[in-house]
């Protein structure tokens, strides 16, 4: 928030600070706990007080994500693609804001921060194009040895908890979030603990991109504190541990085993590279449908 920092030099006018809030169920609540924590830039200058989410916030976010799942997973892939593309359009319009937030958060030069933001916008475009193609790449007909039609199709697994990467506050966040919702899952994202501002601001874009409320829910706070109830939650179907360290990841994976959540373990990722499809397939089920074909008539005649 460089405008806050140089306000003393050039300000006849006092700037208006933004109150950073959570994004849950399409609304912008404060933490139910009433707690906040201080977020600073890479040079330790205070940037904002952000909500320190509690386990109850996590629970509310799961309820919102579950509620949104039916309609979102039931929307046509084309419709989801249009909405993801709309997110890119909205981000493009607020590019400068994100460049500033990312530069502050990650201590980057303006041009390096801009490259991160541009890549993040393009990543939404990349996944917008996947919504109606992933089934064509990972699904298909199976030539079973019998008079049956047999088709395998991918389906979203459900509610996915996503621990956003700690370092890449925006590009990393988008890179783990977009593939989850592209395929029809709904998500609860735990923002980078140290640099949550770009994630919290993303909620404002999502809220104005025709994305139904509850499809993405953004929480800020202590990753470990929020992640534990999410990993143990019986109504969460999967968890992406990108933002967890090895010790926490193992603990969460053990908790996740209780209802056999699909787990994507943390792994080294270069977020500037074009992604593959693995972050989508990690949160897809495969459904195979059998149906008899049979012969044409009782006589058994066939062509």
């Amino acid at each position: 928030m460089s405008d806050k920092n140089d306000k003393t030099e050039r300000a006849e006018r006092l700037s208006v600070f933004k109150t950073y809030k959570l994004y849950v169920g399409g609304k912008f609540p404060r933490s139910e706990s009433g707690r906040v924590y201080e977020v600073s830039d890479s040079k330790d200058n205070w940037l904002a007080n952000v909500p320190l989410s509690s386990r109850k916030d996590a629970r509310d976010a799961v309820v919102a994500a579950r509620k949104a799942f039916g309609a979102w997973s039931g929307a046509t892939a084309y419709n989801r693609g249009q909405i993801l593309y709309r997110i890119a359009e909205m981000l493009e319009g607020r590019r400068e804001q994100y460049v500033r937030e990312v530069a502050d958060a990650e201590g980057l030069s303006k041009s390096k921060a801009a490259a991160q933001v541009d890549a993040a916008i393009d990543r939404w475009v990349w996944y917008a194009g996947w919504t109606d193609k992933i089934a064509q790449v990972v699904g298909g007909g199976n030539p079973v040895a019998g008079p049956f039609f047999n088709l395998s199709s991918p389906e979203p697994t459900g509610v996915v908890a996503v621990l956003a990467p700690q370092e890449s506050s925006f590009l990393g966040l988008v890179s783990v979030l977009a593939p989850v919702i592209a395929t029809g899952n709904t998500a609860i994202v735990v923002a980078s603990e140290k640099s949550p501002l770009p994630a919290l601001s993303l909620g404002e874009v999502l809220a104005t991109s025709d994305l139904p409320g509850g499809v993405v829910n953004v929480l800020s706070g202590r990753t470990a504190e929020i992640a534990k109830p999410l990993a143990a939650h019986q109504d969460v179907n999967a968890i992406d541990l990108a933002g967890a360290d090895d010790v926490l990841a193992k603990e969460l994976e053990i908790a996740a085993a209780d209802n056999l959540k699909r787990v994507l373990r943390p792994q080294p990722v270069d977020y500037t590279e074009t992604p593959g499809i693995d972050r989508m397939t990690a949160f897809l089920e495969t459904k195979t449908v059998w149906h008899p074909t049979g012969s044409l008539g009782a006589s058994g005649s066939s062509y």
């Binding site: 892939a77 084309y78 693609g81 249009q82 593309y85 393009d122 475009v125 990349w126 917008a128 194009g129 996947w130 919504t131 109606d132 193609k133 064509q136 790449v137 039609f149 074009t274 499809i277 149906h291 008899p292 074909t293 049979g294 012969s295 044409l296 008539g297 005649s301 066939s302 062509y303």
Partner: protein, 478 residues
């Protein structure tokens, strides 16, 4: 339809579209005159009003356009896929923004009802660009090996029945895969392609990537024959398709053809009757039957023939024929005088051969090209109206006794584009679909299209597929 509830005229506003008195060819990002200065007129088939005067491309213009496309190819094909994607997404969005304008334009130039251009053509056009935009940076995942390469300059010739949609089917996959394009729209419907040229400019598409050459068959032939064209894509009649196949023989040009059809719509005795009637109507009267995949042969199980025909006739009596710009019009004008003549002559032959002709009472406008919805009963496989593609609102009704016989009759044609199956029994759908020699089978529905779904024919209906992942292959060097 005289009724107590008489719908007042509800015309879509024509003011939304601004048609210039004349248009040039679109070559290398500019509108230019034809080299020989020739022009032709495009008329509105519902009124015979001249809409605009269009530059008519000849061989020299084709050469100029191919050179422009060749020049643009180098940079265009070298762009990262993600950047090509963004151009196509822009085009998709601009089409969405301008869709009402384009729908009215298409209705004026083609004669089809605004209901169809608004609710079918334009949404599909935008969706097609949106879909292929997404493929541009994902070709590695398309199943054609790593980093599949484009072919080069694509020469594309499209018909008049879905002018802008056929353009989208051709241009979107070509650009997504990194090819550049020379496209010739049909001489009776050049306007929407020229408006598309303007959309390319609004989207900032590099010059020469898309070139539009309105003209007649000779221009199309020149595009096909041009030695520096690497790929030929044609949608139109089977006769011309065969001519094109001969032209490209011995060259290295890749060829895809979407040609005629004589689709069978098979209705079994356990069909959901009311929906089957809707499907039959949609199958043959959508776009006045000027659809290559039309369900122009109704194969009905003999045991329900009378009941089905009664329902069908009652339903046809509610069809509203008239001003294509009226939002309540179901049946618009035939695209051209030439097409009307062809339909009329085939229908006369049907009568002469002894088939029984029926049309609902309907008032035919005094100007323009019109043909009432028509149904022929007592048709057999031997009749010309059961074999030749009429490409008009004419349904030939045949009967069958068993599923075997239905399949045998459905397949008894040199064509193989589409077929429909109506039954509540899932296994029968799949068994019959397995046996049908046609590229698209609709069950308990008809004439459904989607950019993700491959479309194309067996046998003399052509080869290659447009749409879906499969549609990429036609434009890749694989």
């Amino acid at each position: 339809m005289a009724s107590a509830f008489e719908y007042a005229p509800a015309p879509e506003s024509r003011g939304i579209v601004d048609i210039a008195p004349s248009y040039g060819l679109f070559i290398d990002g500019e509108f230019v005159e034809a080299a020989d200065g020739k022009v032709f007129k495009t008329v509105s088939p519902s009124t015979e009003e001249v809409l605009s005067e269009i530059a008519q491309a000849g061989e020299a213009d084709v050469d100029r356009a191919v050179k422009a496309a060749r020049k643009a190819f180098e940079k265009w094909s070298a762009l990262p896929g993600s950047e090509r994607a963004k151009y196509l997404f822009r085009i998709a969005r601009i089409i969405q923004e301008r869709s009402r304008e384009l729908a009215v334009l298409e209705t004026l130039d083609n004669g089809k009802p605004i209901k169809e251009t608004r609710d079918a053509d334009l949404p599909l056009v935008a969706a097609h660009f949106f879909y292929y935009a997404g493929w541009a940076d994902k070709l590695d995942h398309a199943g054609f090996g790593a980093s599949p390469k484009p072919l080069g300059v694509a020469g594309q010739v499209i018909p008049w029945n879905f002018p802008l949609l056929m353009l989208a089917w051709k241009i979107a996959p070509a650009l997504a895969t990194g090819n550049t394009v020379v496209l010739k729209p049909a001489e009776t419907t050049p306007l929407s392609a020229l408006f598309f040229a303007d959309i390319c400019r609004q989207a900032g598409l590099p010059k020469g990537v898309v070139n539009i050459l309105p003209g007649y068959g000779d221009a199309g032939a020149a595009v096909v024959a041009h030695p520096d064209v690497n790929k030929v894509a044609f949608t139109g009649s089977t006769a011309v398709g065969k001519e094109i196949a001969r032209t490209v023989a011995g060259s290295r040009k890749k060829l895809t053809l979407e040609l005629g059809g004589k689709g069978a719509n098979i209705v079994f005795d356990d069909a959901p009757i009311d929906q089957a009637v809707e499907g039959i109507v949609n199958g043959i009267f959508f776009n006045q039957g000027q659809v290559c995949c039309a369900g122009s042969r109704l194969l009905v199980q003999e045991s329900i023939q009378d009941e089905l025909l009664d329902s069908l006739k009652r339903r046809l009596s509610t069809l509203r024929l008239g001003d294509p710009l009226d939002k309540n019009t179901d049946i618009g004008a035939i695209n051209s005088e030439e097409q009307l003549t062809r339909i009329t002559s085939l229908v006369e032959q049907g009568e002469a051969e002894g088939a029984e002709r029926w049309s609902p009472a309907c008032e035919i406008p005094t100007s323009g090209y019109w043909f009432a919805p028509t149904l022929f009963t007592n048709v057999t496989q031997a009749h010309r109206i059961a074999r030749d593609e009429i490409f008009g609102p004419v349904l030939s009704v045949l009967t069958f006794r068993t599923p075997d016989e239905a399949v045998a009759k459905a397949n008894n044609t040199p064509y193989g584009l589409s077929a429909g199956i109506w039954t509540e029994k899932g296994s029968r759908i799949l068994a019959v679909a397995n046996k049908l020699r046609a590229g698209v089978i609709w069950s308990n529905t008809f004439n459904k299209f989607d950019p993700t779904s491959p479309f194309g024919g067996y046998k003399e209906s052509g080869f290659g597929r447009e749409g879906g992942r499969h549609g990429l292959e036609a434009y890749l060097d694989v």
